[in-house]
Symmetry: C2
Subunit: 358 residues, 2 copies
């Protein structure tokens, strides 16, 4: 039994294919009686329009492609969730291609999506991918989320620089002066922007800087933390380029017998779920990822609908991270209030939607 076509439906409803199409697309005039007959036939035949055929005649696919680098954990899922919910609301589908960690792979993925999607959202922490993406995509609307403001094309970036400044200013405000930074890997735009923010905030406060390079991994954070406490002139605060390195550093500090935050305060970046579950809870910078994903998708849909017209949208939208203060950066003089914080954290589910079946 082959799938029903629009002609089967037309025949069964005793109308023309044009009427069936009009009922189904909602375009053009039809009487109620015709509509009723068509819908009955559709129901009876379990008819679903062939999307390929539709896309052939309308040259729209109602599909949006998402190109992602190697993202892990909460970040990935929240982002897709936000985009997916928005996509459904607009009647779009989402084609996802993940794990593209170099420009080569990413451009292959873009190429393979051409003709299959109405627009692309490209996340890429790689310096050169932005141009690649735009040249490869031809006339396809593209929204970049590559972490670097790329003037002249629609994009969304996280204010990594501002976030880093916030982190440093917070540490200064709580009385720290010897503030070190564990940076992310060289070549990663986000890492470099966060580093730049750290350097600037320290310069503004006239404080000396210490930077150890990490790789955005927990292990590298552990190594960097160990290195920092072993050196002379031990810092009284560490701002890590992301939460995973902060977690590694925290464990290294505790291994060395130091107290966080009394001996060394600690601030991360991203607010991954683990941040709130560490003891002490990790101060960090939060980005509402799902919201960012939703917003990215909505913007792309607008770009698609406006295609060809006044391309007024070349702005670079900035998402500002929010500082979430937890005990890891309590003022140096303050007594520990571990249990209170612990109870609060344990009761809340804000950063952790728990269900995780299978």
């Amino acid at each position: 039994m082959k799938a029903a076509t629009i002609r089967d439906v037309a025949e069964r409803a005793d109308v023309s294919v044009a009427s069936v199409s009009r009922v189904l697309t909602g375009a053009g005039p039809v009487t109620d009686s015709t509509r009723k007959k068509v819908l009955e036939a559709v129901e009876a035949l379990q008819y679903v329009p062939h999307s390929g055929a539709r896309s052939l005649s309308t040259s729209k696919t109602q599909t949006i492609g998402v190109i992602l680098p190697d993202l892990y954990g909460e970040f990935f899922s929240e982002l897709i969730r936000g985009m997916d919910v928005a996509a459904r609301a607009f009647g779009y589908h989402l084609i996802v291609s993940s794990s593209h960690d170099d420009a080569e792979e990413a451009s292959a993925a873009i190429r393979s999506m051409r003709g299959r999607v109405d627009g692309l959202i490209v996340l890429s922490p790689h310096l050169d991918a932005a141009n690649l993406a735009s040249s490869l995509a031809g006339r396809l609307p593209i929204l970049l989320m590559n972490g670097g403001a790329d003037a002249g094309r629609p994009s969304i970036v996280v204010d990594n620089h501002g976030g880093a400044v916030q982190a440093v200013e917070h540490l200064i405000a709580t009385g720290r002066r010897r503030i070190a930074h564990i940076s992310g890997p060289t070549g990663n735009l986000e890492a470099e922007t966060r580093l730049a923010g750290y350097l600037q905030a320290m310069a503004d406060a006239d404080l000396p800087t210490t930077v150890v390079e990490g790789a955005f991994t927990q292990a590298s954070g552990h190594r960097a933390g160990a290195e920092l406490v072993a050196g002379r002139n031990r810092p009284d605060a560490i701002f890590a380029g992301n939460d995973m390195m902060a977690v590694g550093a925290m464990l290294a500090l505790q291994d060395a017998g130091l107290s966080v935050p009394d001996d060394v305060a600690l601030v991360g970046f991203d607010d991954v779920p683990i941040a709130g579950l560490m003891r002490p809870g990790l101060t960090t910078l939060r980005i509402n990822i799902a919201e960012t994903g939703r917003s990215a998708l909505e913007r792309l849909v607008r770009l698609i609908n406006a295609a060809g017209e006044a391309v007024a949208d070349t702005a670079c939208e900035v998402v500002r991270p929010e500082l979430v203060v937890r005990p890891s950066s309590n003022p140096a003089t303050q007594a520990r209030t571990n249990s209170g914080e612990r109870a609060r954290e344990a009761a809340g589910t804000s950063s952790l939607k728990g269900e995780n079946p299978q």
Copy 2:
């Protein structure tokens, strides 16, 4: 400038559309000179075949749909990663639709994918979704990962029952006898299967059971843990239905001034990244999620290619969880060796691939 069609390519290469098609699909004989001319024209025109048109004439979309419930964090991203990598290897694209938490929504998603995909992978922890999926999909190959063995259709399930038995037997082996269970929400297949495994293992060992119902969330685990330690006849071990509840319970125990594992041992399920980062590290059951996703996709591709033929594949593949022993379930008599474990965990990146840009 509209996109080039196969006719433009044919014209430019001074051959027929048939030859262009033959070169591009690799089917049929062509001389090297023709191939060369065609490829040059393709390159010059930046030609990409229209997937809709192709799908119309071949009735294949080279796309696989994935229907997911509300999944969070690592589970979601690992699963998609595994599927995505496999899909690329087979030349397939992945359409993802997530956040379907009731059968209604899930079936709407399935319907909207008909005609757009060559096959479906449906994850659903809902009891009735299995039948729904199969009836809605028509002749579309479907692979179920709904957590309940559903004889007669291709499916992949996690051995939740066996995992729970392993957990309980492990706790018994380390000397515990008063073992309580924090279950997941009623109506969730996985939760119920894990509960059943607990009950069976306890019955086999002739031990009395205690069950408190949770909701797979950290907060519910915290409540359940508090309730368990407050009651008379405090358990000396708790097996939680998932890691998030185990984490909540651990914090509740520590809030109550109890030591894990000395006073109460703790075992979770899933091996989320946080499990290894808790202090003490949480004993749990690990599933290689990416691998499971990859395997699911490969199996579906096989189903697609075999469509219509001998549908010999109606088996229910079982994925067995692996017990990961960490300090939260150390034998009751053993001294704490926190620092050793801590160093090991911090050095390893096994469960945590750290990069988490933006």
